[in-house]
């Protein structure tokens, strides 16, 4: 692969150390942790060792970590499991408009089941204002969930302040830290959260392992009912190789985080300033300062995101677009719209997410090719000279 990967938010290549840690568990140490002979107990030991490494990454106790198969599962588990277990307090939950689909969609499913759901608005930088939460929260609110940092625009939310408001009102607080783990230090105690989702493949660990931190003593309904795995809170034979890999990835991340973040922030800043300098009519999305190291996100006026991605891919640059090209509705990114970006500008979303394997040279290469790609597409666009008579419409109703 001669390509340069700038899509670490989509997924990461596993670190070699992680694969090495996993290898013995595929064919030799393959036992089921529930089995009481040595092969099983050996697997059980590996499971618990990984649990304690993952707990350390977020400052939790080992028994507070529940392994799941993905960040999406952890998020669904948190939303449905906590709202379900605490419905006696009330049937109202609050999530922000910055959330990932795997928070928004289970929240909508709860709405259909009769829960009231408030979708908290955000400001133009994507920040949830604690005062807005304060107003939205009621006696009936059992759960508040706000993303720790956005994988799409990089904005880091004021979780500590928001969690304090939830606590004051007797509501549980969950944060989706899938995009943060690996990039930002996480401490569940300092943040004051009751639950937090993280996913290994976002920090150089394997796909198939993720975890929900759940503060000791907090009741939750299982999403996957069955056996006694994960203290009866998540059934299914444990994916030991992946869990062991997650443990190793957590350990590496814990050790390397400050240096990783420093390097990524440097490259990110160079990329952002280079793009803003070299291309006209381009806008940085998300908070200018309070943002994920490694995340450079833009809206480029007059052209569309997928076309940019293809143009860049042809030059060996792999990036992403919040323009939801993968979504069938071809609608603009709800996150960008909720930040007040116009629907046509939101179509020009492009996101570069950097990771440990990127180098300064990658950034310079991107800065060389990206302006050329934009120029090319603007030559094709009918809006090269400006949006003209295009009106702001709130919603796009596809024709067929």
């Amino acid at each position: 692969m001669g390509a340069r990967y700038f899509d670490y938010m989509a997924t990461n290549p596993m670190r070699p150390e992680v694969l090495e840690a996993m290898m013995p568990f595929f064919r030799e140490r393959y036992g089921n942790p529930l089995s009481l002979y040595e092969l099983g107990q050996n697997a059980k030991g590996a499971l618990e060792e990984a649990r304690s490494k993952v707990a350390q990454l977020v400052g939790a106790k080992p028994q507070e970590m529940i392994f799941t198969s993905s960040g999406a599962e952890a998020n669904n588990f948190a939303i449905k499991g906590l709202a379900g277990a605490h419905a006696k307090k009330g049937r109202h939950i609050i999530v922000s408009k910055m959330e990932h689909h795997s928070i928004l969609n289970p929240a909508r499913a709860l709405e259909k089941e009769g829960f009231a759901v408030t979708f908290l608005p955000v400001d133009k930088n994507g920040l949830v204002d604690p005062a807005v939460l304060e107003k939205a929260i009621t006696n009936e609110t059992s759960l508040v969930s706000v993303i720790h940092a956005s994988p799409e625009v990089g904005t880091i939310e004021p979780i500590k302040e928001l969690a304090a408001i939830a606590r004051k009102n007797g509501a549980l607080f969950h944060t989706d830290a899938v995009a943060s783990a690996g990039y930002l230090p996480l401490d569940v105690e300092a943040l004051g959260v009751d639950a937090m989702s993280i996913s290994a493949h976002e920090f150089y660990g394997p796909k198939g392992a993720a975890a929900l931190y759940l503060k000791g003593g907090t009741r939750i309904l299982p999403l996957i009912y069955g056996g006694i795995q994960e203290s009866g809170r998540r059934a299914g034979t444990e994916n030991i190789p992946a869990i062991v890999g997650m443990g190793k990835a957590a350990e590496l991340t814990k050790a390397e985080l400050p240096e990783r973040a420093r390097r990524l922030a440097q490259m990110r800043d160079r990329l952002i300033s280079g793009v803003l300098e070299k291309i006209e009519n381009v806008y940085l999305t998300g908070h200018p300062a309070q943002r994920l190291p490694g995340l450079a996100s833009f809206c480029v006026a007059f052209i569309e995101g997928e076309a940019m991605l293809l143009m860049l891919a042809a030059k060996g640059i792999y990036a992403a677009s919040g323009s939801a090209c993968s979504s069938k509705a071809l609608k603009a990114s709800p996150v960008l719209l909720s930040m007040g970006v116009s629907a046509q500008l939101a179509q020009g979303s492009i996101v570069f997410s950097l990771g440990v394997e990127n180098t300064g040279e990658d950034i310079e290469y991107a800065l060389g090719e990206f302006p050329a790609a934009v120029k090319r597409l603007r030559e094709i666009s009918p809006y090269a000279g400006g949006w003209g008579k295009v009106k702001e419409t709130d919603q796009c109703i596809p024709k067929n």
Binding site: F302, I303, E304, G305, E306, A307, L310, M311, A314, S323, C325, K328, L330, K331, A332, S342, A343, Q344, Q347, E379, I380, S381, P382, Y383, A384, W387, V390, E392, T393, Q395, C396, I397, P398, K399, N400
Partner: protein, 124 residues
């Protein structure tokens, strides 16, 4: 996801631009939905002698525009009117299902350009 043929039309689009004093202009789509195609045609003796496009949209939208403008050149107006979205998609070596609406847009923009020409003709 995309065929080689499509990628060729995306990376080397044919007929980009706008015909000055075009005989027909057709525009379809909405930038808030992510796709706008503007097709201009030149007509001589009932045949389309030239066609150009400008498109705001995804890779498929650009390739469809390029292909449509190629396909119509030399065709009579009736022949051009009968170009279906399936014909465009086929000519590009197929489109993923979620992108079929792009070939729709292409056929529609072309039809609008031809209707515009006819309307102008009537008006003359």
């Amino acid at each position: 996801m995309y065929s080689e043929k499509l990628m060729d039309h995306f990376t080397n689009p044919r007929n980009v631009g706008e015909i000055p004093q075009a005989d027909g202009v057709g525009e379809e789509g909405n930038p808030t939905c992510g796709d706008v195609m503007k097709i201009t045609i030149k007509v001589e003796n009932g045949r389309i002698t030239d066609a150009k496009f400008r498109t705001f949209g995804c890779g498929a939208a650009i390739a469809v525009s390029s292909m449509v403008t190629e396909m119509v050149k030399g065709k009579t107006l009736e022949e051009a009117m009968s170009i279906t979205k399936e014909a465009v998609a086929d000519a590009l070596g197929g489109l993923p299902p979620q992108k079929m609406h792009c070939s729709n847009l292409g056929a529609d923009a072309l039809r609008l350009a031809i209707e515009d020409y006819k309307k102008k003709g009537t008006a003359k």
